[in-house]
Amino acid sequence: MQIQPILVALRRHRVATSLIVLQVALTLMIVSNALFIVQTRWVHLSRPTGTDEAHLFVIRNEWVGKLDVAQVDARMRADLATLRSMPGVRDAFASEAYPLEGGWGLLAGVRRQPQQTQRPQFSIVYFADEHALDTLGISLLAGRNFRADEIGSLGPYDRVAPAVVIITRDLAYKLFPDGSALGKTVYLVGGPTTIIGIVDVLQGPYAGSTTRTIDEDSILVPARLADPAGAVYLVRARPGELPALLQAAPAALLANNRLRVINPDGVITLAEARAGGYATDRGVAIAMGVACVLLLLATAGGIVGLSSFWVSQRRRQIGIRRALGATRRHILRYFQVENFLIVSGGIVLGALFGVAANLMLMKYWELPRMPLWVLGMGALLLWLLGQVAVFGPARRAAAVPPIEATRAV
């Protein structure tokens, strides 16, 4: 198959050819970037929190009236005892945030030296006690759990100054890349503290994208935050008991003490929190996916339309070629190669557009750099699409009988 005659023929349809090239280029630009966004969102929203999500739920409890720290702490202890004594509950603890919450968590700067002037390593605080690891369903990689006598009680405006902490593997590695974090002393704003345990994965409460770099850098502080505004109870149900507990657990707390508010939307399973926290991410992924499909259909439609037009315009030329001995296969091949050349032109241009668009998105939407394989995938998709779209018209062209050469002369 010679390419030269195809190029000569295309030169006679300069505008129509460049329209298809432009269209393929724009399609590649948008489809590759959109697919990349879908991919990053998908990776983001399918990350595990490291916890036993299927059996965890959260009760958001607000206190009524003006209470002091000691009163709040006493009530929290009574509540936890009530929750832990329920038959369907495996374990429970109190914190101020929970994974996938999507709200604001407490950030803490961790320094390796007491007088360190450079930026501390930021981490996300969970208040915890000796029941926290079992409740969350996370396991210690090294070290030990908190002891009951290490759990302090903090007022809302008190300094966070625990004697010991448990940190995640991620944070341990960032603080001590040589893997020697266990037993080391680090410095929080409130003073020095010793790392007594390292847990595997525990995601912070932020589901959004702005804290992605420290999402798994959590630090467990052995304290109950006795905030007069309220507390969050994390409860792990025994298998099969979760649905019943969603009603029974808040009811048991209210029976304990009625001067509290547990709003209907204050009892949330982690599965619900996951759906809610990532709603936007999933929405964007769906929208981009739909846009890609529509776009590819539109482009395919355009190729079918223009190729059909060319075939109808060239019926006589096709007839002549057939009369001079070209087989059906030759004609079919001609249109297929022609389409391949046009789409290739579009892909070259579209790759440039695509990279440029990605650079813009990186600037405005904190998106990472698009790897080249995404462009490659897009290109492959368009080549395939072009061949599929041109097949119908090309077959009709191949069906033109040689007798056509003698018509209209």
């Binding site: 009524v64 407490l106 007069p228 936007t280 539109a298």
Partner: protein, 443 residues
């Protein structure tokens, strides 16, 4: 003549059905995606108080310092120290301090569970400043502010829930174990976006409206902390202040929005000057170790800084415009093919005396008709898209989006105009046909 052109268009569309249908479907899809994303964008980018949004400003004072601010921007909320200083200076026509609070109601009937109500702690100017409508009574007085009185303004919805919608002014309700006298009941008031406590509200710009408003000073006395954002110059709350509420108030934590009403440009200039002087004074007395860094932003500037329009909305705007562009390039190619196929017809018409202008008009009318049909299809698809919008955007944003006459008109107009633009080149090419050559070659 118009009717004749339309007749020709109809006949040609019958001859090449697939091509016509493809053009209409492409235009319909392209316009519909644009309109759906525009409808969301329009809803989220709306001006919540159009009649005076350029007279209302948020004051910002940098009390964190250059090493702790992000890109030199002062925090978007104020510390208690700065907020109360601006209020006491009284340099604006009206000024209001706002922070979100949550208060609980314990029903007398012990069978019913206590529930909490979202609201704001505000100073008395808040209501006049934002033209908040009242159904019964009015806002509390400046004297109530000064006496830190236990008064409350409740929403229409809460009034219906508690008092069956009757005039409840003067009655007493118990919130968080304190008695409050009801000073006023609001009419239906729900500005979208909810701009006045934007930086601190937990529900975000499109969250549920507040139910209760209590005096700022009274909330401070109750040691009511913000139910929304509150952050401190150090990442650990505790290092910015000592233990306890009064140390928290004195510390460098920010959690209050300060609004000022400045009717004229001269007022604005003067206030900006005052803010700068205030920060300079703080530097002089040694509280700030940095040059004054203040901002005074109008409502719309504030909405922009706070990124009220979701990023997903802007992104979908860009993608849908790209989609429309691709559809247009596509339509241009198809129209070119369609018009050139009718070179013979053009040749005959030209030979029989039709001018180039007449050919232009004929094909433009045809393109406009296609655009109109695409617009109508686009309208149907827009309706379909708007009903599916909940899949993409959060319910509270999706709930704001609706189809109104302006959007209908815009959909059709965009379809017709963009189709005409795409048709310009094909029409020009069609009119270039040489009558004699065309007639001869087609014998």
């Amino acid at each position: 003549m118009m009717a004749y052109y339309l007749g020709l268009a109809l006949r040609s569309s019958r001859r090449s059905r697939a091509l016509t249908a493809l053009v209409i479907v492409l235009m319909g899809c392209g316009v519909a995606t644009c309109m759906v994303s525009y409808a969301v964008f329009r809803a989220t980018a709306a001006d919540p108080i159009p009649w005076k949004s350029n007279q209302l400003f948020v004051a910002q004072v940098d009390n964190f310092g250059p090493t702790k601010t992000y890109q030199g921007e002062p925090p978007d909320l104020l510390s208690y120290t700065d907020a109360t200083a601006l209020l006491a200076a009284s340099k604006a026509v009206r000024q209001a301090l706002v922070y979100p609070v949550s208060l609980s109601i314990v029903p007398g009937d012990s069978q019913r569970q206590p529930f909490s109500l979202p609201g704001d702690a505000v100073t008395s100017d808040f209501f006049a400043m934002f033209d908040v409508p009242f159904r019964y009574g009015s806002h509390w007085s400046a004297a109530d502010d000064a006496h830190r009185a236990a008064v409350v303004v409740i929403s229409d919805a809460l009034n219906r829930q508690l008092f069956g919608g009757a005039d409840s002014v003067g009655r007493v309700i118990n919130l968080d174990a304190h008695d409050y006298r009801i000073a006023g009941v609001l009419d239906d008031w729900n500005p979208r976006p909810r701009f006045f406590d934007l930086a601190s509200s937990a529900g975000g710009a499109f969250g549920a409206p507040g139910q209760i408003y209590i005096p700022f000073g009274h909330a401070i006395d109750l040691q009511k902390s913000s139910s929304g954002a509150s952050y401190c110059s150090s990442t650990d709350d505790s290092s910015s202040h000592g233990p306890g509420w009064s140390a928290f108030l004195r510390g460098e934590c920010v959690w209050i929005s300060a609004w000022v009403e400045l009717p004229t440009a001269a007022d604005t200039r003067r206030y900006r000057q005052y803010l700068g002087n205030y920060a300079a004074e703080q530097q002089r007395v040694g509280r700030f170790a940095w040059a004054p860094n203040v901002r005074l932003r109008s409502v719309m500037q504030w909405l922009d800084v706070e990124h009220v329009v979701p990023k997903a909305s802007k992104l979908s705007m860009i993608v849908s415009m790209g989609f429309l562009l691709i559809c247009l390039v596509n339509v241009m190619g198809l129209l070119l093919a369609g018009f050139m196929r009718r070179a013979l017809e053009v040749g005959v018409r030209r030979a029989l005396g039709a001018s180039r202008g007449a050919i232009h008009r004929q094909f433009l009318v045809e393109a406009a008709a296609l655009g109109l049909a695409g617009g109508v299809l686009g309208l149907l698809l827009t309706l379909l898209g708007l009903s599916g919008i909940r899949l993409v955007f959060e319910a509270k944003i999706a709930g704001l989006v609706r189809l109104d006459p302006a959007l209908v008109l815009l959909t059709v107009l965009v379809a017709v105009i963009t189709t005409l633009i795409a048709a310009l080149y094909p029409v020009w090419r069609a009119a270039q046909v040489q009558p004699a050559w065309q007639l001869k070659s087609s014998g």
